[in-house]
Amino acid sequence: MDQLIANLSLGFGVALTVNNLMYCLVGCLLGTLIGVLPGIGPVATIAMLLPATFTLPPESSLIMLAGIYYGAQYGGSTTAILINIPGESSSVVTALDGYQMARQGRAGAALATAALGSFFAGTVATILLAVASPPLAQLAFKFGAAEYFSLMTLGLIAAVVLAHGSVIKAVAMIVLGLLLGLVGTDVNSGMARFSFGVPELSDGIGFVAVAMGVFGLAEIMKNLEQTEEEREVFLNKVTNLWPTKQDFKDSWGAVLRGTGLGSLLGILPGGGAVLASFAAYTLEKKLAKDPSKFGKGDIRGVASPESANNAAAQTSFIPLLTLGIPPNPVMALMVGAMIIQGIQPGPQVMVERPQLFWGMIASMWIGNLMLVVLNLPLIGMWIKLLTVPYRLLYPAILVFCAIGVYSLSNSPLDVVITAAFGLLGYVFVKLECEPAPLLLGFILGPMMEENLRRAMLLSRGDATTFFTRPLSATLLAVSVLLLVVIMVPAIRKKREETFQEE
C-alpha cells in the first residue's frame, strides 16, 4: 500500500509539471478533434498525430499519445450520440441508445452520462493498473525466450478469436503482418532483407506508414464511395447538460458493471475497447427487467458500454507495460512510439524508468479528468465540426497525414509507401479482411523472430523446448484451445452474435 502511494506520488510529480500537463491537454484536444471526425477511429488518429510527438522527451510524448487515445475515444462517442455515426467501432453500441436519447431531446444527459461514466471507469481502471502492474512485471521477469515466443503466439491468436470476421483470414493477415515487419536489416546477421537495394527500406517499413495507409487513407477512400447525405445534427438541443436525479439512479448500476467487465476484458489480448462495449451492452440488456426499452433511448445503454470501453482502454495498457506485448492495434502503435523513443517495452520499463512508467499512469487519470472538465463545455465546438461537409474535410485530413509522414525522415519514399499501403488497405476493405491483426503482426514480427531464434539456440535446435517448459507449454495449450473452441459451430455462432449490431 505504502509502495503504491509512493509510486503514484512519483507519477503525479511527473505528470503535474506544467509542460506535461500542457502535452496531456493538447493530446486530449487533438485526439477529440480528430476523433470527432466521422470514420476516423483511434488507430488512424494516433497514427496521424504520432509524428507530432516524436521530437518530445519520452515522458511527454507518451503522455500526449495517451491523451490522444482517450480524446479519440471520447470524440467517437460524441458523434455516436449526436449524429448516429460512431467515430470508432467501440462506440457502435453507444449509438443505439445514445442517438435515440438525442432525438428525444436528451442529448445533453447522454453526453454527460457517457463522460461521467467514462471518468469513473477510468479512475477505477487506473488504480487497477497501478496495483496489478508490479506483480505482473515480477512474473514477466521469469520469462525466457521460449515463454515470450509462446506468449506472443497466444496474444496473436487471442486477437483473432476475440475480433470479428473470418478466423482463417485473420490468421493469414497476422502472418502477412509478421512478414512485412521482417522487411529491413536482420539484427543477427546484419543482412538487409526484402529491401532490394533501396537504402530507406533497409531500416524497415515505417509502422506509421503502414498504420496511416491501411487505417487512414483506406478509410477516406471508403468514405468517398458513398455520396454525402444530409446528417441530422442535434445542434441546438444540447442545452441541458446535467442528467436528472432519475438518470443517476438508473445508470449507476450499469456504470459499475460496465467498469468491471471492461477492466477485465481490456487485459485480455485482443480484447480491448470494442469487445468490452459490445459485451457490456449485451450484459445490461440481459439483466434488465424491461429489455424492451433498450434501443429506444435507455440511459443504461449509454452508461454501460461507455464505462466499459474506457475501462478497457485503460487496462489494455497492463499487458503492454508489464509484458511488452500489445493486446490491440492501438497498443501496437504505442509500442512503435516507445521504440522510436528508444524504450524497449517490457517489465524492465517499470524498474529502469519509474518516472516514465508512473508518470504515464498518473497522466491517464489526469487525461480522463481533463476530458470531463474541458470537453463537456466544448461540445458545442466539436459539433460545429460535424457540420463541415466531408468534401472539405478530407483534403485537410490528407494534408495533415502527408506532412506527418513526410516529416518522419524527410523522405518522399515514406509518402509513396504510405500511399501503397492505402491501396492495399482499400483492397482489404473490398475483400473483407480485417486490418487490425496485420498491424499487431507487423509490430510483433521482429520480436517473435528474435525470441524464436534465442529459444532455439538455447535448446540447441530442439523445438520441443516450447512444450517442455511448463509456462510456455501452458501458453501454447491455451492458444490451441482457443483455436479449437472457435471452430466449434455453436460457439462460432455465439461469437458472430456478440458482434452483431441490432
Binding site: S166, A172, R391, I403
Partner: protein, 154 residues
C-alpha cells in the same frame, strides 16, 4: 465458371501470392537459412511465407464450398485522385516547397470527391497552406522549404 464466394477466393489468392513471393525472394536472393539452432536471415521469413501460401490455399478451397457476397465495385475515381495527390505531395514537397505541394495535394484529391467545386477548393487549399506553414514551419519548426528553393525565395 462463376465464383461462389469471390471475396474469399480473391483473399486466398492474394495471401498465396504474397506468401509465395516472400518465400521465392528468400530463395532467389539466397538469404542464408541456417539450421534450427542457428537460424539464418532466411529461416523465419521462408517458413512464414510457406505458411501464408498454405493458408491462402485453404481459404481458396473453402471459397469453393461456401457462398458469399460479391465484391463491391472499386471506386476508381477517389482511389486514383486521393492516392495520386498524396504521391504528388511526396514528390514535390522538397523541390517546390510546402505551399505548392499542399496546393497540389488539395486540388488533386478534392477532384476525386463527388462534387468538385473549383472556387471552394482553391480557397481551402490557400487556407490549409497558410495554416500549415504557421503550425508546422513557424510553430513546430519542421524542415520544409516554404517556396521552391531553386527560385531562391526559401
Amino acid at each position: 465458371m462463376k465464383l461462389k464466394n469471390p471475396k474469399d477466393f480473391w483473399s486466398g489468392a492474394m495471401f498465396t501470392t504474397f506468401g509465395l513471393a516472400f518465400a521465392i525472394i528468400v530463395k532467389v536472393y539466397d538469404y542464408p537459412m541456417g539450421t534450427a539452432s542457428r537460424m539464418g536471415a532466411g529461416y523465419f521469413p521462408f517458413v512464414l511465407g510457406c505458411v501464408m501460401a498454405v493458408l491462402g490455399i485453404i481459404i481458396i478451397a473453402q471459397s469453393v464450398i461456401t457462398s458469399g457476397t460479391r465484391i463491391s465495385k472499386f471506386a476508381w475515381r477517389p482511389l486514383i485522385w486521393v492516392l495520386g495527390g498524396f504521391v504528388v505531395f511526396g514528390l514535390t514537397a522538397k523541390l517546390l516547397g510546402l505551399v505548392i505541394a499542399i496546393f497540389l495535394l488539395v486540388m488533386i484529391s478534392a477532384y476525386g470527391g463527388h462534387e468538385f467545386k473549383l472556387r471552394e477548393s482553391l480557397i481551402s487549399s490557400v487556407v490549409l497552406a497558410a495554416g500549415s506553414v504557421l503550425v508546422f514551419i513557424v510553430g513546430l519548426k519542421l524542415a520544409f522549404p516554404i517556396w521552391p528553393e531553386f527560385l531562391g525565395w526559401g
